[in-house]
Symmetry: C2
Subunit: 136 residues, 2 copies
């Protein structure tokens, strides 16, 4: 039996705090590869790792932050959410301290205050994900 399913990815809504536990905002990255624009940090799950392991690895690779997973936020799976192919994204809420640094697939990584999220620059369905987050 040949099994064919969508790809599985993880994305992180990283709440960033300073050393005094003040909430500073969430992290968005500027993508190095198409589709170009801003996005939540994330990436594909490797065979042999759990989604939680993938999330922590991808957040470190793209933002240099060591995140702590707070909880599963939701799963996004509309077939057209990724213009390249069908990708199911498992989205986690997580927290971290310090300043992100864009690395790997991220040209830049910055903290955005919730009032300043540039929705028009977000790729995939990350605008919807963040609106769901703001409404949650």
């Amino acid at each position: 039996m040949a099994i064919k399913t969508p790809y599985v990815a993880v994305d992180g809504i990283i709440k960033v705090f300073d050393e005094n536990e003040n909430f500073k905002g969430i992290v968005l990255i500027e993508r190095k590869n198409p589709p170009y624009g801003l996005a939540l940090p994330g990436g594909f799950v490797d065979v042999g790792e759990s989604v939680e392991e993938a999330l922590i690895r991808e957040m470190k690779e793209e933002t240099n932050l060591d995140v702590e997973i707070v909880k599963l936020f939701n799963v996004y799976s509309k077939p057209d959410r990724d213009p390249r192919f069908h990708t199911v994204s498992i989205v986690f809420l997580c927290k971290a301290y310090g300043q992100p640094i864009g690395k790997d697939d991220a040209k830049k990584a910055d903290v955005y205050r919730l009032e300043e999220i540039p929705f028009e620059k977000l790729v995939f369905d990350h605008g919807k994900i963040l609106k769901d987050f703001l409404n949650s």
Copy 2:
């Protein structure tokens, strides 16, 4: 770039009610294919369908029930949870009315009272999933 990720599946914890809204139990199926044993109804997500669509389709195929999704329950992704290959399972809590009928990959489908779940017969990590459910 060749992308390789785990397979994506959905599984349903179906709470069954009678016509008077009395809770009767949850549905387990007897698997027709290896690994043999009891399991939550579920199956692989097809390319081109959302995980919610896959859940409703698989519940109908395996139990003949028309389920209503209540909420996302959790995601299970340990690499060794499926003895055949790495499968990420997205588990939904749902509800349905009536008597299940085992079809397709299910030799049988029955309603089990929560006090009578035969944990020793459950395959994959479905025993853990149901313990998490009972503790939730």
